[in-house]
Symmetry: C2
Subunit: 368 residues, 2 copies
Amino acid sequence: MSPYLSLSRRLRVTPFSRRVDAAGVQAYTVYNHMRLPTMFQSAEEDCRHLKQKVQIWDVACERQVEIVGPDAKRLMRMLTPRDLESMDVGQCRYIPVVDERGGMLNDPVALKLADDRYWISLADSDLLLWVKGLAIGARFDVDVNEPDVSPLAVQGPQSDTLMARIFGDAVRDIRFFRFGVFEYAGRELRIARSGYSKQGGFEIYVEGSDLGEPIWDALFAAGIDLDVRAGGPNIIERVESGLLSYGNDMTRENSPFECGLGKFCDLDTAETSIGRDALLRERDQGPLRMIRSLAIEGPALPPCAGEWPVVADGVRIGQITSAAWSPDFETNVAIGMIDRSHWHDGNQVIVETIEGARSAVVREKSFN
Amino acid sequence: MSPYLSLSRRLRVTPFSRRVDAAGVQAYTVYNHMRLPTMFQSAEEDCRHLKQKVQIWDVACERQVEIVGPDAKRLMRMLTPRDLESMDVGQCRYIPVVDERGGMLNDPVALKLADDRYWISLADSDLLLWVKGLAIGARFDVDVNEPDVSPLAVQGPQSDTLMARIFGDAVRDIRFFRFGVFEYAGRELRIARSGYSKQGGFEIYVEGSDLGEPIWDALFAAGIDLDVRAGGPNIIERVESGLLSYGNDMTRENSPFECGLGKFCDLDTAETSIGRDALLRERDQGPLRMIRSLAIEGPALPPCAGEWPVVADGVRIGQITSAAWSPDFETNVAIGMIDRSHWHDGNQVIVETIEGARSAVVREKSFN
């Protein structure tokens, strides 16, 4: 049985929290010191609905780091090995952010608002402190802050239909990982085609907490016939889709190469990016382990709340870091870090789950 | 009713988690991406026991930032306006850490291990990223990391008795906010007279996760006749004692002066500390609001999970950020930020609690 969560102001409410409560949230996790709803009916039912209909997710916990000023671009180049030269205003890019040893500090999505203004939409770490510390230490001419911006995700196959009813048919034209500016109640909002599922959808960057409930209410009022429901990042769909979670599937111990993010490390042009030397070294020798999807055999396992060792021939060769029973694939789907010796597609391994040893098969691709 | 907490690897287990589970933990909070037990029997019963006996607290979530190297002292001077010149090896100091605008980033306890080596025992924010960012940006010659150190607190009036049985009578001689080095199982451990209650006790800086369960078990085996129990920071005792909680009672929006930490801002000697200019300005004009204890009248209120506005003459003059029913003081004890106009001892105000408006009295001192 899950323990209770002791609520306090430190686990920040969001502009949508009252509506989330009213929608019958059962469980939360904590993410960037904020409440992130994880379950409404059950993981299975929430997943089934997400894949067929449309859901509204309070992902305000994806806090933004805003970097603005003459040195904004220079600071961005320092933050990530990914090349941002060709990035347009209106574009989103998934960027690994690493420390001086090449260890992952966050895997956010960067949005370019103007040539001298970026938002970094965060995974779960206080990257604001890293960016501010660097900027102050290096005396960069930028302002770094956390604006009053709270993403609200609209996810699922009926997302376009629902969004068009509120924001007009122009939302249908937003391309993947691009954002447009739309008007709502006389205010301008950025809306991106993005989100933490593979079921399609948008993220509305709700700027101004006062707009949270009006937009939530408008989406629900417009979506009654679509059976719109409140949801959240779903453990089953996420693992099926191979979507990584910072803190779960990777930590500061891991490099971007280990996380399968080598394609986002443009080391030849990233002369000023932090961690470049360490990453060049690893690029040359190749990573020693890598993130993989796995199918764990046998009956449904409980969620992986820590690490489950992966062994082969009695030797530990990795660990499972996320897992869930998938009704659609009729197996336990999992994500883990697997040593080079065993990371190839189809390899048989043993997972020491909380319910004992189970056979498992390594996959080079995710399920979805 | 409290919601459930969805456990995952991202909410890190501690070296003591299995023992905490076995001891019947009912609720957690999340602190520095780690599980912090908040309740075993009930807040009231846990509090009563803490004040009479001795408890073992898993406070591994008080993660350490280790700063070591030739520039360690220079970096520490940059981090805090508090003067550390007179700090001895073996001493602990409560230090405000602020950003360039004087906003609180954390209120940790610093430990001086050697002239070129410090630990910063954290409240809830990733200060590691701030310290690393500054050090890299300013090209300081230091190493900054999070060592495998997990504090285990022993709190309550029987703490000395219990600790002496394990570590010898020398622990009785540790002065408040000092630490000594003690041997356990052939390893050296730092033990400080400190902790997040006013009931007395120690914090054992358990260095090496493998030592977690042996030390936990030794303390419980030695304390049977003392009725030793598992516990955690207790909301009732904490608020009675006026112990502040970063993220609850103060945030980056607040200055040290507002938090009553002006006495730790040695601005005349802190020439190189970040935020000094902003703090000098506030020192001259005085803070506009300050943290206060309050007694809220009427029957027991539920815990404050967000902010309760404080009003006087129909105008908002502050907010409650922590509250609990105190069986000992037979009132609702609270902590809040109150405007200068109403922060004086004995002032009558109205608190808009989750259960409606209540009369309350401002106190310049805490209850305990």
